[in-house]
């Protein structure tokens, strides 16, 4: 084992640590959470772009009030063709390059996940 070996090991460890930190530990954009805007008819509304991920992926909403989520799917990859809200029993087909509206009402404060049909893309509603 010479200096080069130790350098490669150190580099490998650093890279592995960074990967795990970035995907697991780094705050998943809560700081950049979107706040649902008050829409007409007493609902909260937010627009979510679907393209390889949900943008924004974290949405702050008020609990106990209906939230109108407008999904704008800008791709035709089948992975994102459905959005699932397990906590609300909602599963919705999102036509490609169209907007689709999902309305849910978080009953109490807490975090409610939503994912794509295969559970690869993640987003969440943070109800306050």
């Amino acid at each position: 084992m010479n200096a080069t070996d130790w350098l490669v090991i150190a580099g490998g460890l650093a890279a592995a640590a960074w990967v795990n930190w970035y995907f697991f530990l780094a705050e998943r954009g809560t700081s950049r959470a979107a706040v649902a805007a008050a829409g007409s008819g007493g609902e909260q509304e937010v627009r979510i772009t679907v393209h390889g991920s949900y943008d924004p992926a974290t949405i702050r909403v008020a609990s106990g009030k209906p939230v109108r989520l407008v999904f704008d799917r800008q791709e035709n990859a089948s992975c994102s063709e459905e959005v699932v809200f397990p906590g609300f029993g909602v599963r919705k087909f999102l036509p490609a390059f169209e907007t689709t509206t999902v309305v849910v009402t978080p009953p109490a404060p807490g975090t409610y996940e939503f994912t794509c049909g295969m559970g690869m893309l993640h987003g969440r509603l943070v109800a306050e």
Binding site: D5, G11, G12, K65, P66, N76, A96, G119
Partner: protein, 761 residues
């Protein structure tokens, strides 16, 4: 009321289980200021509210309903089930065409790149200019393939990366991206490699071929996924586009959407029936197999129900349209199937947990692979450059072979194929969870009336008492006169029997029904009493003259009923509800599947035993009142049994809900039984065995899929990393890894598709 300008909204309401719930929601809504009219439908689970938009808005109405303790959501402007299915089909067809095009283009490019790379490999030291020219050409070709065919891998991986997420795309993008960058350095600055004692080899052809293989896999996967919903597509296509209706005494062809309730629709021989309705004139037999799985044509006469989407036989008839649009049987089935196909099975939770951490873990393994190879080669006396190259190839192979998609597809594709297969059999399974639980059943509880039996009791015997004072015809008229006021199913049978024998019922002066015993009343000044032995004993009527006869009839699975007039025993009536022809075979099949079969009935023990003997059930619980069904199911569950309750869905609602699996036996029209997990389109028990068998097979498929998906990764990743190298000198090239990956997800979907061909008689 009508002066206010009002708008109408239909709000889905969840959590209502009984008429009381319905009443509560309806009352609360009606009392809300601004609400003009509110009606709540328990079966449909929705509230139709007419309201004054100036005084109240839909969100307030949802709040109002939620305040009563039930769930409500604002309705989302929805396409019809058929439209959505069509949009979905178009999308998947387009996706398949797109992927196929890209796979072919990148495949051709891959072949070209491979041919062009040959001279680079063979003659490492050939003329610098030619070498460099080929290198640059390949660089441009690869860039073109990445930008055209592989573009979505990179854009999606980047979008996910920005949100600290990683997917399949991330692995492909990092793997091919690394190989590409390595090759570019070798092309642009070969001197850098030579200084470290490594030949400046390029991997352009590998990048292109990996993209081609993965796209090919994706294309096959898209096509196979399309096939998983073939059954649903077939159902959606049953809906005819036009209907021939009678308007102003002439027959006109109009679009189905324009048919109104009570329109008279004309159906000619061989035509598809356009909408649901009640037959008014003519007769025919109708092929309903596409909806109910019933292979024999069903005879239809005046008053019978016909279902839109089924095919008329040789007769012609007119019928009155009833349920239309989204309320039609076909639309409800399509909607139910779509919801079911999209639902999750609990077994998926494991796959979900693994896929959530999968990609970063694979990336970590890939880094570890590089480090270990480097150290191993370097420590073994290899040059640092050569060590890095070996490590690099193995690390890329790890990224490429890993396949989270197979795990993601394992359960949902099986759910889709199974629910579609069920629909073909006339068995509507309402989701992945129901499929999973139905696969675990140990006990099946059958409600007798209308489930084991046809639910149409008829009078089979009339035995006059020795020395009866009243003629049978007169006696029938007297009994029918009191039974006319009763709501008991047996009463209806007696009234019908009397009518058929010309003994018209008369008005009774008084009527009283005694729960569990019978009924009595006064007709033309005579006290008439009809009921069981207990009722007779209460009024000191001696039943001994007919007792032996009563026991004989009960032994034949008939319900005996004593009739007394003015305190004197006059006759014995026997009513029987014939056992369905298919019940015996279906119950035998449930036994063969290792299930315990229990029958619940309100009949007396002797009659119940006789029916149980004929039907072949293991155990019969007699004298069960409607409320007792729930208690009996709870008792079985307390014994650790996983219980299915089979009933008619209307009277058995609470029992269906209590059971682990509620199976509503079909009348062919009411699909949307809320409490049921499984709805049978046909009225026979064969569907119960089919549903359970299908569920068991589906569970087996899901487990095979999950096992394969896990094992593939658990074995494939170490092999790609070089685990077999020390022993066998075997190492996978990234190209082989990409082929294995593509094959892995296709094989999972193909395994699910095998369910389509499962023979479930």
């Amino acid at each position: 009321m009508s002066a206010t300008s009002s708008e109408k909204i239909v709000i889905p309401v969840s959590g209502m289980t009984c008429a009381a719930c319905q009443g509560r929601v309806q009352r609360t809504l009606s009392k809300t200021p601004g609400v003009v009219d509110a009606s709540v439908n328990l079966m449909m689970g929705n509230a139709t509210v007419a309201y004054d938009p100036g005084a109240v808005n839909p969100a307030d109405l949802v709040e109002t309903i939620r305040a009563t303790g039930y769930g409500a959501e604002l309705p989302v402007p929805d396409r019809s089930a058929f439209e959505e299915q069509a949009a979905r089909d178009a999308a998947t067809a387009e996706e398949f065409a797109d992927l196929r095009r890209k796979a072919i283009v990148s495949g051709i490019a891959g072949a070209v790149a491979m041919a062009a790379s040959m001279p680079l490999m063979r003659g490492g030291g050939m003329g610098g200019a030619a070498h460099s020219a080929i290198g640059w050409g390949l660089l441009l070709l690869t860039l073109g393939v990445m930008a055209f065919a592989g573009r979505h891998f990179y854009t999606r991986a980047w979008a996910a990366f920005r949100h600290h997420a990683a997917s399949m795309d991330t692995l492909v993008a990092v793997g091919t991206g690394a190989a590409f960058v390595y090759s570019v350095i070798a092309t642009v600055a070969p001197g850098f490699f030579l200084r470290h004692g490594v030949m400046p080899d390029v991997y352009y052809e590998a990048v292109i071929i990996i993209i081609a293989f993965i796209l090919t896999g994706n294309a096959f996967e898209a096509r196979a996924k399309r096939q998983t919903s073939a059954a649903l597509r077939a159902l959606a296509q049953l809906q005819p586009k036009t209907a021939r209706v009678v308007r102003n005494d002439t027959e006109v062809d109009i679009a189905v959407a324009e048919v109104r309730g009570a329109d008279v629709v004309v159906v000619r021989p061989g035509e598809r029936i356009p909408v649901d309705g009640d037959l008014v004139s003519g007769s025919s037999s109708v092929d309903e197999s596409m909806l109910t799985g019933e292979s024999l044509p069903v005879k239809k006469g005046a008053g019978d129900r016909v279902i839109g989407g089924t095919i008329n036989g040789t007769g012609a008839f007119h019928f009155k349209a009833t349920t239309l649009g989204a309320d039609s049987v076909l639309a409800q089935i399509v909607k139910l199937m779509r919801d079911a196909q999209g639902s999750r099975a609990p077994i998926q939770a494991l796959a979900d947990r693994v896929s959530a951490v999968f990609v970063p873990v694979v990336m970590t393994l890939s880094i570890a692979t590089f480090v270990i190879w480097f150290i191993a080669v370097h420590a073994g006396g290899g040059l640092a450059g050569a060590a890095a190259v070996r490590g690099f190839a193995a690390a890329v192979a790890v990224l490429i072979i890993a396949c989270p998609c197979a795990m993601g597809l394992a359960v949902p594709t099986a759910v889709m194929v199974a629910t579609g297969k069920g629909a073909e059999l006339g068995v509507l399974i309402k989701g992945g969870e129901a499929l999973q639980r139905a696969g675990d059943l140990t006990t099946v509880v059958l409600d007798k009336t209308g489930t084991v039996t046809e639910g149409k009791p008829t009078v089979t015997d009339l035995v006059p008492a020795p020395g009866a004072a009243i003629a049978p015809a007169e006696l029938l008229a007297l009994v029918a006169s009191i039974e006319r006021s009763s709501e008991h199913p047996l009463a209806g049978a007696i009234v019908r029997y009397a009518e058929e024998h010309g003994s018209a019922a008369r008005a009774s002066e008084s009527f009283q029904s005694v729960t569990g015993r019978g009924a009595m009343g006064v007709v033309g000044g005579r006290a008439v009493m009809a009921g069981n032995a207990a009722l007779m004993a209460d009024y000191a009527v001696d039943t001994t003259p007919l007792q032996a006869e009563a026991e004989r009839l009960a032994g034949e699975a008939k319900s005996p009923l004593y009739v007394a007039v003015d305190g004197r025993l006059e006759a014995l009536l026997a009513v029987a509800d014939p056992i369905r022809a298919s019940s015996r075979a279906a119950i035998a099949r449930l036994h063969a599947m290792g299930l315990h079969v229990v029958m619940l009935t309100g009949d007396a023990q002797r009659t119940a035993d006789a029916i149980a003997r004929v039907a072949g059930v293991d155990r019969v619980v007699a004298g069960v009142l409607p409320a007792g069904k729930v208690a009996e199911i709870k008792r079985l569950q307390g014994e650790g049994q996983v219980v299915a309750m089979v009933g008619d869905g209307i009277n058995d609602g609470p029992a269906l809900a209590q059971a682990d699996i509620g199976i509503a036996i079909g009348t062919g029209t009411d699909v949307a039984v809320e409490a049921a997990d499984v709805a049978l389109m046909r009225g026979d028990l064969t569907g119960v065995a089919q549903a359970i068998e299908l569920s068991r097979r589906t569970m087996r498929t899901m487990k095979q899929n999950l096992f394969w998906a896990f094992v593939y990764n658990v074995i494939g990743i170490p092999i790609a990393a070089g685990a077999l190298y020390p022993a066998f000198g075997l190492q996978l090239s990234p190209i082989i890894a990409s082929a294995a990956m593509a094959f892995s997800s296709v094989s999972v979907v193909s395994n699910s598709l095998r369910l389509r061909r499962a023979r479930i008689a």
